[in-house]
């Protein structure tokens, strides 16, 4: 039975040998040589150090194209024209499904035709040398971003390739991304990824690990996201990771977002071992965007404002072309600069909004309820507790496509636009907290003159892309107008 225990050295080596045989570039990896390589990198390419020593939020976009030259050009552009502090390399879908053969075909076709035949950078196929060419070409730290349930080979190659930050985790890259991977399976595979990061860490190469906070990206109640971040942080710490960046996706209500980021940092420091340096990352709105660049810039502006007040360590930016999918590099850089301008104008202002402390306290209490139920479900073991709690529905994520989560809990915004829980299903929570949510949603129902129902959920899902925060019924909206 899988438990939250450190993978022994011999087992680490056994798995490492096994997974490296899955694709030809696996044989390029030599751990000792990789340590020397990392030691040769200049300070300003050491991801954990740069992130942890920053005294204002660092900005990072999303970006990945199949060919190495194109990826270098793209990241150089985002660094130069977008003034990104940290850079990403987003991995293609075939690699996420461990289909390295298909990724190879796509890459070769991309090289022949010059077209982007893959939706990201196939790092496994580029191999250790390809990764190092990228690391050397770009004058800033780079993170691997993907969405891979089994990222063991990807981690082995990119770590050896000089990357010092790696997104994802066994829950956050399972529940929102895939239907049929079991949690036990993904936890086991991510224990290896974390153990490998831990092995580098023990040799002085602190690989930064970043659980994916936004989860399903759609109205995720903050406490659910934070609980999952704490679980993934604990799992990584057990394997020896010492630089952990906990994530959170903007819900759009400034008070709740600031409160959640504060709670995330505080609970991260509390739940994770002292030897771990905990930082936070704020993702600009991950839900549906307006089909209009001007309005999308408004959404990005609200994100920047929230970041200026909450001061997370990092912000992942959106572009005004979010609606249409992958942005041009110009639009990507534009999202970075809009965010930078708002943050730099607002961050030195003393903006302290009433109610943040109360909201933070509520989020912390909710998160503690969830952490407690995980503890109980696993008799003290966080791995078993997580698996069992998801199984019973005591832990759940709204709109989760995975069979590993019930996906029965449903969120809705309250009258101020804060995300509350409308349908609890089997989610574990103290009754008095449930009453608070119910009272808040009831006030909204009164404002709108309708019953609390799934209609609110449906209206809220589309609200921001329709130009509002709260999905009010049409009659209420027209009353609002002039």
């Amino acid at each position: 039975m899988i438990r939250d225990e450190r993978i022994p050295s011999d087992e680490l080596r056994r798995i490492d040998d096994e997974i490296r045989s899955n694709w030809e570039t696996g044989s390029e990896v030599d751990f000792e040589e990789a340590i020397s390589y990392h030691e040769s990198l200049p300070d300003h390419k050491r991801f954990a150090d740069v992130l942890e020593s920053a005294d204002k939020p660092l900005l990072q976009p999303r970006a990945g194209v199949p060919r190495l030259d194109d990826q270098i050009e793209l990241l150089e552009y985002l660094h130069r024209e977008g003034q990104a502090d940290l850079l990403p390399t987003t991995i293609d879908s075939y690699t996420r499904d461990n289909e390295y053969g298909k990724a190879q075909e796509g890459l070769e076709k991309a090289r022949e035709t010059g077209e982007d035949t893959l939706n990201g950078f196939p790092a496994v196929n580029h191999g250790v040398d390809g990764c190092r060419e990228l690391i050397e070409a770009i004058d800033a730290p780079i993170e691997v971003r993907h969405g891979t349930p089994d990222a063991r080979l990807l981690a082995a190659i990119t770590f050896a390739g000089g990357f010092q930050s790696f997104e994802g985790g066994p829950i956050s890259y399972n529940i929102p991304y895939t239907k049929r991977h079991g949690l036990e399976e993904t936890i086991e595979r991510w224990q290896f990824v974390d153990r490998l990061a831990g092995a580098y860490t023990e040799r002085g190469v602190r690989i930064n690990r970043e659980p994916f906070g936004p989860l399903t990206g759609t109205l995720v109640p903050p406490s659910i996201a934070i609980a999952i971040m704490l679980v993934e942080g604990k799992l990584a710490a057990t394997q020896g990771v010492r630089s952990i960046t906990l994530g959170y996706g903007q819900v759009g209500n400034v008070v709740q977002d600031v409160a959640a980021l504060n709670a995330l940092q505080k609970l991260g420091d509390e739940y994770l071992p002292d030897e771990v340096v905990v930082t936070t990352v704020f993702h600009e709105w991950m839900g549906g965007f307006p089909p209009d660049e001007a309005r999308a810039n408004g959404v990005i502006g609200l994100g920047g404002m929230t970041a200026a007040i909450a001061r997370p360590d990092k912000v992942i930016t959106k572009s005004p072309q979010e609606f249409q999918g992958v942005p041009t590099k110009e639009a990507n850089a534009s999202g970075l600069r809009t965010t930078r301008q708002v943050i730099d104008m607002a961050i030195e202002q003393d903006i302290d909004i009433d109610g943040i402390e109360d909201e933070q306290e509520l989020i912390e209490r909710e998160t503690r309820c969830l952490m407690e139920t995980i503890h109980e479900h696993g008799d003290g073991d966080v791995v078993q507790g997580t698996i069992e709690a998801f199984d019973s529905g005591a832990l759940d994520v709204p709109f989760a496509p995975s069979d590993s989560a019930k996906g029965a809990v449903l969120p809705a915004r309250d009258d101020d636009g804060r995300v509350r829980i409308f349908e609890w299903a089997d989610l574990e929570m103290d009754d008095d907290i449930k009453e608070i949510h119910k009272a808040r949603l009831s006030r909204r129902a009164d404002t709108e003159g309708r019953d609390q129902s799934f209609r609110m959920v449906a209206d809220d899902v589309d609200a921001i892309s329709d130009g509002k925060l709260i999905g009010r019924p049409r009659s209420t909206q027209s009353q609002e107008g002039a």
């Binding site: 991304y177 895939t178 239907k179 049929r180 399903t216 759609t218 709204p398 709109f399 989760a400 496509p401 069979d403 996906g407 449903l410 129902s453 799934f454 209609r455 959920v457 449906a458 899902v461």
Partner: protein, 151 residues
């Protein structure tokens, strides 16, 4: 066949490799609230899984969702698979059904020809689908075809 005797069970799912779960979750809630028995197969559901669930539950309707633009490909031969499984249900499809969805009437014709009784675009309210299904399950399919659907 008279609708009143038809099953009130609705099988829902997202077809193919599509992982968009939000719409189907909202639909599940809406149809449940409207009094239907809902079997939600979730995302990434194969034609065979739809057919098996519809047969097992003697479903009155099969509602297919697709949002990633590959619906036409994913639905080729779907109605034959249903027929072979002995499913006799009303079939609807809705979502972003074509990549460049400039002419929805063309898209509607395409999916009607594939065998779907009704075709909805992604802007359709759940209420509209519920109203249509109430009609289709209580009157003969032939008559239902005369009902004009605005979407």
């Amino acid at each position: 066949m008279i609708g009143n005797t038809m099953s009130q069970t609705v099988v829902l799912g997202v077809i193919g490799s599509d992982a968009h779960v939000v719409g189907i979750t909202i639909l599940e809630q809406a149809f449940s609230a409207a009094g239907f028995d809902v079997v939600n197969l979730g995302v990434q559901t194969s034609q065979e899984q739809f057919a098996e669930a519809a047969a097992d539950h003697d479903a009155g309707a099969v509602l297919v969702s697709s949002l990633y633009g590959h619906a036409e490909q994913d639905c080729q031969g779907f109605h034959q698979v249903l027929e072979e499984a002995g499913v006799d249900a009303v079939t609807y499809i809705g979502g972003n059904l074509a990549v460049g969805q400039d002419d929805f009437e063309q898209t509607r014709r395409t999916f009607r020809e594939l065998g779907f009784d009704r075709v909805f675009d992604s802007e359709t309210d759940p209420e509209e689908a519920i109203a249509a299904l109430r009609q289709d399950l209580e009157i003969t399919p032939t008559e239902s075809e005369r009902v004009s659907v605005s979407s």
